[in-house]
Symmetry: C2
């Protein structure tokens, strides 16, 4: 991919540069002079514009050649728009209706024009505001199950899957962010780290636990060299937009081939962090809203498992666990499916615990905790989250199911650690 | 890769077609009329020519567009020469002196001109003939450890390793042979299967063991979607050439990124099959030769582990288990290394057991057993091998080390199964 002609868009130049594209004028009309353009990118990496006319609206997302959160001292390749485009098309095929519709893709300009979701807002903001979303857990579980199953050799032809692994293997720097920030940096005093004052005793304990670091590196090994399926790669509540009943998944530029348990593990971590942060955000509705968040987690896992088992029965056409070897011989493949799900569950718990650590210890914290301005309030809540994360990493073998997981979250939520 | 101009060599055309290549004339001289050309390919896939002059000798290996063992009804892409070439250069860099030197590579003709190993013969033939090779186990263990470690992100830069995974992901049909013939076909009545008459009771037991099939598919999943390191991919005693003290590894056209335990597991299986076949090949030297084969296995594992630990200490410069996280914090990484080795050991035992099955049940049996013409002699020996294979797959967690492994082999060797 060549980016010789790349130029970052601005609100002033956007209408001129994109004003004659049929894919855009189809939605906004042919008179760019009346378009309203707002730059709204609040993420860590990209320019995001909302473009509106009296006829309609689109989102224009353009990659920047550096990490926006850090600045141009941290270059970041423009090719991530290419991978985001390919990830979106695969997700749309594997779980239709769950991701924004793409109108236009320009590889040279690293930009994607897509559906403007309205009145959807970022799920994380709803969780901080105490707003519920109907069917959230079921939606997430089904999305994770469908993309995991249909992107693997349980379903895909091996030749197609291997070609796709080859395509995504070109995406080096984006996975490197996850590799460093998620799996390694939290566990020593890395340069870009920061944490809430007062957490030091808890952090010291984590960083002196050699077994914890060992398992984190084992999971890094798995993340970096297990190509089971194409994962979203950054599935947290900031990558989901929702109304009170409509949900979409956005921003898959961290897509890569990785273990099946990665997405659902990272997502579970983000729900748990929302849960642990609630005492600082809620009033009298604290208990009922925390209950709801935990129900999202159990719904998500129930839906994941049900959908995965259903696909196992109906769409197992790839080379793995073929029916010729089981059903056609009069042998049930139920235990084999249990085994695959058990590995996903164990991996997910470990990814979950690691994500709970990195969001409080490394770069790129999340708003659930960061918006708690009083650090004396924030630190004890983060401490619960950090200690539960360690238990998930270290004792993933003893935690039976999502019911046990949320029960554990309740016990940590009642602890006074600092 | 384009193969429009591809033409298979013959002993008659070889001198004319390669006679003016400097890389060849350097070894054979500039007068092709005096060259002697013999086609000696006895493998399953390729043309192999020995070309000799009074000045020297070379090997010319050329891929055929189909599986030689089966015929042109099973097409097989010529690009495997391209992967063999890349695998040989990487092995030469990672464990110098262990593979034949490459003199010339022609991608269009799918041919490699390389060092003629003489008086080396195929190790499998030596094992059938009862000949010992000094240092065999140590050589194999070191080769497996060095290629495993130095081809992984324990050592390589992640960007380089990912680029290599992308390169090798184009190799689809060759891994597909292993995927089907090794992991799936042995466990049901697949079309290309064949087995020695009399084995049916043992085979029925294997094919009715659902757990065995499940674990075989779990290992297939790992083989197909774990890119830990570049493996040889077909490391058996037919891929090793040796004198009584000099050893080389050949034929890495099945190279791919796969789990670290794959090569050493497959190789161990082939030593165990040599061991179990010996009663039909030896006379009074049976016990001492079988002892020697088992010592090759224990030497191999001892050398693998020692070399791996040494590289862990001296060359751990990749992103996995970085010293910043362990040694630099005053924390030992010894337990982490133990953990990595334990996973390699468990994987290897399972790959080993599966290979022991497929060589008696699927296509491409090996000469250790196949050269036993009396099937009434062969079947009981194969039965021991098949039953031990199942135990390795099913009980890999209970077998502590290579000493326990060879002790188990001795007990199966004493059983009268049929």
């Amino acid at each position: 991919m060549e980016y010789a002609n790349y130029e970052a868009l601005t609100p002033e130049t956007l209408s001129t540069r994109l004003g004659s594209l049929p894919a855009v004028t189809k939605h906004l009309g042919t008179d760019p002079s009346g378009w309203q353009v707002r730059e709204v990118g609040d993420g860590n990496l990209n320019l995001v514009f909302i473009v509106q006319s009296d006829q309609g609206s689109v989102i224009v997302k353009q990659a920047l050649p550096y990490v926006r959160l850090v600045g141009d001292s941290w270059p970041m390749p423009l090719y991530r728009a290419f991978y985001e485009y390919h990830a979106l098309t695969r997700q749309a095929a594997r779980d239709p209706g769950t991701v924004p519709e793409i109108y236009y893709f320009d590889a040279d300009q690293a930009l994607i024009v897509m559906e403007f979701l309205s009145p959807h807002v970022i799920l994380r903001n709803k969780l901080i505001a105490g707003e519920k979303v109907k069917g959230l857990g079921a939606f997430c579980g089904k999305f994770c199950a469908r993309t995991a199953f249909r992107g693997s050799e349980l379903s895909l032809k091996s030749a197609d899957k291997k070609a796709d692994v080859g395509l995504f293997s070109g995406n080096v720097e984006i996975p490197a962010i996850t590799e460093g920030l998620v799996f390694t940096d939290p566990y020593f005093e890395a340069e870009l780290n920061n944490h809430t004052p007062g957490l030091e005793p808890v952090i010291n304990e984590l960083r002196n636990n050699i077994e914890l670091k060992q398992i984190a590196q084992q999971m890094l090994t798995k993340f970096a060299s297990n190509t089971q399926t194409m994962v979203h790669g950054d599935l947290h509540s900031g990558s989901i937009m929702a109304t009170d009943s409509e949900i979409r998944v956005i921003d898959p530029e961290f897509a890569q081939y990785a273990p099946m348990g990665f997405d659902i593990g990272m997502l579970t971590a983000n729900y748990l962090m929302a849960f642990f942060s609630q005492p600082a955000h809620r009033g009298s509705d604290l208990d009922s809203y925390q209950d709801w968040i935990l129900s999202v987690i159990t719904d998500c896992w129930a839906s994941f498992e049900a959908e995965f088992r259903s696909l196992w029965d109906s769409e197992r056409t790839g080379m793995l666990y073929p029916k010729t070897l089981f059903e056609d011989q009069g042998h049930s493949s139920g235990a084999a499916c249990d085994g695959v799900l058990a590995e996903i569950w164990r991996d997910a718990l470990r990814f979950c615990g690691i994500e709970m650590h990195r969001r409080c210890l490394s770069l790129a914290h999340n708003a659930d905790f960061e918006t708690i301005e009083d650090t004396a309030v924030r630190a004890p809540l983060e401490a619960r989250n950090l200690q539960m994360g360690a238990e998930l990493v270290l004792k993933s073998d003893t935690l039976k199911d999502a019911k046990a997981l949320v029960a554990l979250a309740r016990t940590y939520n009642a602890r006074n650690i600092l």
